[in-house]
């Protein structure tokens, strides 16, 4: 399990490093330019009742980080704190956004999603999606927990 978590962190970190590394280096060598600020990415979470929650995160943050850092009020979200051992950060993407993501879900992520309520073909775990600049304006659906479990 530890190996999986590391690989996620590494993949997040490496994604941050690979593209802007040249830019970051040249900027940090150039003293009259302000220190590089990580770019912000706008994300909208849409609750099951249609309510839209606008938020933002930095490039490299996971969608779980965005929820936690902005104290977004989704009951029970992120119970295992991003360690890929639960499915409480389940989010549903549009087909187009899902297809655009650079990484396909790992077997371990799919294993957890298989236990999620309201599983869709474009379901992902928020802890496994790292923000990139190109994701600005991303919209994701937060499946209902309480109401849907009701019979």
């Amino acid at each position: 399990m530890i190996r999986i978590i590391n690989s996620r962190i590494i993949s997040c970190v490496s994604k941050q490093l690979t593209k802007p590394i040249g830019a970051q280096l040249s900027r940090s060598l150039c003293t009259n330019v302000p220190k590089p600020q990580k770019e912000e990415v706008q994300v909208t979470f849409v609750r099951a009742n249609g309510e839209r929650v606008q938020s933002k995160g930095k490039v490299g943050d996971s969608l779980l980080d965005v929820v936690v850092n902005n104290s977004l009020d989704f009951d029970g979200f992120g119970a295992c704190e991003g360690t890929l051992t639960c499915s409480t950060c389940h989010l549903i993407l549009s087909q187009a956004d899902y297809d655009k993501l650079p990484d396909k879900p790992s077997d371990e992520e799919l294993d957890m999603l298989d236990l999620a309520y309201d599983l869709a073909d474009t379901s992902r775990l928020g802890c496994q999606i790292c923000l990139e600049k190109s994701m600005n304006g991303l919209e994701v659906k937060v499946p209902a927990t309480v109401n849907d479990a009701r019979s």
Binding site: G76, E81, T85, D107, E108, D114, A149, R150
Partner: protein, 469 residues
Amino acid sequence: MFTVRSSILKTLISSNFSKFKYFSTLNNEIKVCIVGGGAAGFYSSQYLLKHLPNTQIDVIEKLPVPFGLVRYGVAPDHPEVKNVINTFNKTAQHPNFKYYGNVSLGKEVTLDELRKAYNIVVLSYGSEIDTLLNISGEDKKNFMSAREFVGWYNGTPGLEELNPDLSGEEVILIGNGNVAIDVARILLTPVDILKKTDITEYSIEALSRSKVKKVYMVGRRGPLQAAFTIAELREMLKIPNVQTIWRSADFEGITSDTVTSLPRPKKRITELMLKSLQEAPKASSDDKQFLPIFFRSPIQINGDSQVESIDFSHTVLKNDRAIATNDVEKITGQLVCRSIGYKATSVDPSINFDDKNGRVVNKHGRVLMKDSTEIDKGLYVAGWLGTGPSGVILTTMNNAFQISQTIIDDIKNGELNCDEKKPGFDYSKFRAVTWDDWKKIDEKEVECGKKLDKPREKIVSVDEMLKLI
């Protein structure tokens, strides 16, 4: 005059605080008692504290220490799953939350006393006993329940003396849920990996002397009905120096067509089993073996005083049920754990309890009156005690949130009147363990763990826990 003024006040309040307009009891604290400090109790507390204004919650717990099966059920090698404790700790910091450990419903307090002292009582004390096979010989030495075995390695008070005899090479697990998988994994994982977890030191000592080489996990039905989840299976397939050996006959009739038509979760787990079946086991005689077996139902436990083998009847599926045939297979095993489910018990004669199904009689979490379809207003049940013992922590979380929302709805809709000022219960006459007391136990456990290079060494004796307070 006063009533008029207070109703004006209520109107004012409700117009100013439209969100809370239904709660005419705004000036009056709603006193809630939650019985049982496990996942259901903590998630109920969390939801009520957040969504029901002016609530005072008292959680009572039979043991001095909190967290129930998160502490005593979750496997020691799954520390990430226990991260939910961080959220429980936050809930416990809420000024309107109080914890009283070492207080048992049905012993120190009765349900009737709690009903008088609180506006709302939520029963969430879980499922404590296990389902028997009801065949002869379950009392033989080294035949035990997986619940006991798990409790033994996880340090559940009272189970530290279980002393499972691990000197035989074969173990049989009857039932194939995640509890059975946990037991198989603990028996087969190299001790060097386990000793870095919060597993009890006495079990590490016993496991390091274990001679177990083969663990059979036997289910009554077929691979498509297997109760374990895919994450647990994948983990089994990755244990170093352990071969997983399936019986190809069990998979007869499962074609690629059947697999494709399954819903995604079933499809993926079946594909994983098939893939593992097709991979020829690496030939190494030193490897330990994990042997899942399907379509076998136990009919007889053999052995003199100690279990030696189990007779299983072959089964066939009819309408998704396992029907025994006349064919019998004997499987030898020197330690056998039954793992066919947990059951709740009634701890207080006032509880409307369904003995047959092992749960409190309820409708969507509202407890019903005895021999009636009428709701017993103010009494609720959350978690396994109401639903029956199945599912992962997420399932219990959702259930607890759902029941808590039902409580809020009932108050909103006027179904439940909480206007009466209730005193709460005075636990000072008992040796109740407060949250600060638990913190002392917690610190001691972490400190003892540090010396052994593990996250904590659990204190198992209740007396020893109480001495620290």
